[in-house]
């Protein structure tokens, strides 16, 4: 869908992106992660053609990305902004028309979206008269109203209460289902865990990690298992590295790490012979853990 090839960008003497390459496959949600100042915003601004890259190339559906593709992209910036004194309806139509829709199409689609998010009564109100949550919803509609094929969302949940954050999450999943390619930049790891199919991690203007979320988790797992047993388990876990997580008196939970690499099934078998097992689960690293580990490694390496 989008191939980013060896893209570099500097602001004066500051290097924001160095020799950055990335394949964004069609459909699905790609999480764009990285510490502050890593170069995420620069990458987003280059993809949305707000700024120009210094070198490298970007291919969108087999063509070099240029201004003719702008209508295929939707962008929700982290710093939200609307014309506050415009009426909701007029503003949505204006923004949709800037993306290349005709007046009729823009009106029809804007009305549909406003109905969908229960904001129909506000169509003729000025944006400034809306609550912050409603303004955020309008901003979200403005991002998707022209039905883009690529959606770039920068911290889409900030400013929403949990209820509305849920609404937005459902909308994102719905858009994904309809085939939209989504690039999601966020610091909220729980959103990444929940929504993303792939992950790319930027640190210090370079790509340090990229891949399918599940595969990454597999490759970063440390051969640890989480078990829950009856009793406190004292004396029965000899010969296995173990760490008590919780002891409720009746049951206790341990993280165990066998000394040798072995299949989960054989481990399960050997443990269940010794203890009264309630639960057994392979312990996979969270995205948050992978993030911290990789960033630390790249900072010190």
């Amino acid at each position: 869908m989008i191939s980013i090839k060896n893209v570099s960008k500097s602001y004066g003497d500051t290097r924001a992106l160095k020799d950055f390459s990335l394949e964004i496959p069609e459909g699905g949600i790609m999480g764009l992660l990285g510490p502050n100042g890593a170069g995420k915003s620069t990458l987003i601004r280059i993809l949305t053609q707000i700024i120009e890259k210094d070198s490298g190339e970007i291919i969108y559906k087999g063509q070099t990305l240029d201004h003719s593709h702008i209508g295929r992209f939707g962008y929700l910036p982290e710093e939200r902004g609307l014309y506050k004194k415009m009426k909701v309806g007029e503003e949505l139509i204006y923004l949709a028309r800037l993306k290349g829709l005709s007046s009729g199409e823009a009106t029809e689609k804007a009305i549909n979206w406003v109905k969908k998010l229960d904001l129909k009564d506000w169509w003729n109100h000025k944006v400034i008269d809306l609550s912050k949550g409603m303004q955020q919803k309008i901003q979200f509609i403005a991002t998707v109203v022209h039905e883009p094929s690529v959606l770039i969302l920068d911290e889409p949940f900030s400013g929403f209460d949990p209820l509305n954050a849920g609404v937005v999450r459902d909308l994102i999943l719905e858009l994904k289902k309809s085939g939209v390619t989504i690039l999601l930049s966020t610091h909220r790891m729980e959103s990444v865990e929940e929504l993303c199919d792939r992950i790319v991690l930027i640190n210090k203007s370079k790509k340090v990690l990229e891949g399918d979320k599940q595969q990454l988790k597999d490759s970063y797992k440390e051969n640890k298992f989480r078990i829950r047993i009856k009793g406190n388990g004292i004396g029965v876990l000899e010969g296995i590295d173990h760490q008590l997580v919780e002891d409720s008196g009746l049951e206790s939970e341990y993280l165990i790490k066998p000394r040798t690499e072995q299949l989960a099934s054989s481990l399960l078998k050997s443990i269940s012979e010794k203890v009264d097992l309630v639960a057994f689960k392979e312990e996979l690293p969270s995205v948050d853990q992978i993030f911290k580990q990789v960033v630390n490694q790249s900072n010190h390496g």
Partner: protein
């Protein structure tokens, strides 16, 4: 092109629909008319008459003094005047005339509690000078009647020769129209350029700009805004021209009976002398179409040139208060043009007038002031071409700074940074 049009029409519609636009468009000419009528009304009102006590022994000079609209003279001798402070209680001031030599008159003094106005001092000087003249006349043995018979009053009618035909020229009409037109251009350029700047600062601080430039190029957004505001300016101008014509027709009818009573300053006197000639022919001879076309051209050209620079400033700063330091150097040429306006109108073909009407930064104001006096066609063309070049250049500069400035937040900008934005491909 389509996107520029979208931006332009949004800028235009949101501004024209605003209540402040409608109110200001209607109120401004009313205020102007009110100001004009008020000034004329006040100038026709006579001030309180002031009584002046003239103290002179022997009444040698003061017998020639005569009361006028403002002054009453009372006369007293040195001994009869009594206490000075007491006299000032009942009189505005005391004019003391000592013994003086007719060949070298001096030693006249005026005392009052308030500072006398320049007008008052001049009036009293004229009274004294008149008296001395009469005394000298008498001494030389000439009579007043003989002297009056020497006076002559001639009115010179001036003609321009252009294209083989002779046309009567009207310096007074040209002066008036040139002055008003130049001043309007100055005001418009200032007001509308500042509107562009304010609009850009608003877009930047409300962060909507990032959403917009993910859809349009920064240059398209800037140009769209500049053109939209230009449309607002033209609309306002058209409304004012119509209202102005309406009011001036009504106003002239209303004011003219009183006009004779108005005390005239030299400029008005010049105009009044012109009134000897038929005004209508003066206006008919006036190059209306050249003038209107040039006025619109120089208004648009000047506005485009300055608004691009104001746009650059707006994009570079985070708040309007930060814009002051950058605005000063840009507005200096405009202010210079207004300062030079009076000398230019007094000598519309002089070197100052020529050069200021050719240089793009001042030409919109100065050329429009010169046109009513008649300008060589090559000068007009050169000025217009240079103005086009000028605004293309400032739009280039403006857009270079704008494209980077609108994305910068929180960083203090100075001239060196602006120069870097201008020349580096950020």
């Amino acid at each position: 092109m389509g996107k520029i049009f979208l931006v332009t029409s949004r800028e235009y519609i949101t501004r024209v629909r605003k209540k402040t636009f409608i109110v200001m468009t209607i109120l401004t000419p009313l205020l102007m008319m009110g100001l004009l009528v008020g000034t004329i009304w006040f100038s026709t009102q006579k001030g309180e008459r002031k009584s002046i006590l003239v103290i002179e022994d022997g009444n040698r000079l003061s017998k020639f003094f005569s009361d006028n609209e403002e002054l009453d003279f009372e006369f007293s001798s040195q001994e009869g005047s009594g206490d000075e402070e007491l006299a000032l209680k009942s009189h505005y001031g005391l004019l003391k005339i000592p013994e003086f030599d007719l060949r070298d008159p001096k030693g006249f003094e005026f005392t009052s509690e308030q500072n006398p106005s320049l007008d008052l001092v001049k009036t009293m000087e004229r009274q004294i000078e008149g008296g001395i003249k009469e005394l000298r006349l008498k001494e030389s043995g000439l009579t007043r009647g003989f002297l009056d018979s020497l006076e002559a009053n001639v009115t010179l009618r001036t003609f321009n020769v252009s294209g083989g035909s002779e046309k009567e020229s009207h310096a007074g009409v040209s002066f008036g129209i040139g002055y008003v037109a130049a001043f309007l251009i100055y005001l418009f350029v200032f007001i509308y350029s500042a509107q562009v700047m304010r609009g850009i600062i608003e877009e930047k601080t409300s962060r909507v700009v990032e959403v917009i430039i993910s859809s349009v190029k920064p240059f398209e957004l800037m140009l769209g805004k500049v053109l939209g505001v230009a449309g607002v300016g033209l609309t306002q101008l058209m409304i004012w021209i119509v209202l102005g014509l309406l009011f001036s027709t009504l106003g002239v009818g209303f004011l003219s009976p009183d006009m004779d009573a108005v005390q005239m300053n030299p400029q008005q006197q010049q105009m009044a002398e012109m009134a000897d000639l038929p005004w209508i022919s003066a206006l008919l001879d006036f190059p209306v179409f050249t003038f209107l076309f040039s006025f619109l051209f120089f208004f648009l050209g000047g506005y485009l040139m300055y608004s691009a620079l104001f746009a650059a400033i707006g994009s570079a700063v985070d708040a309007e208060t930060d814009s002051q330091q950058f605005m000063l150097p840009i507005t200096i040429p405009l202010i210079m043009a207004i300062v030079a306006l009076a000398p230019v109108l007094n000598n519309p073909q002089g070197p100052l007038a020529f050069w200021l009407s050719i240089i793009p930064l001042t030409s919109p104001v100065i050329m429009v002031a010169r046109i009513p006096f008649g300008v060589e066609w090559w000068e007009l063309c050169l000025s217009m071409l240079l103005l086009i070049g000028g605004f293309l250049f400032t739009i280039w500069i403006g857009s270079r700074i704008y494209r980077i400035g609108i994305l910068m937040h929180g960083s203090k900008v100075n001239y060196r940074i602006l120069a870097r934005w201008l020349f580096k491909s950020y």
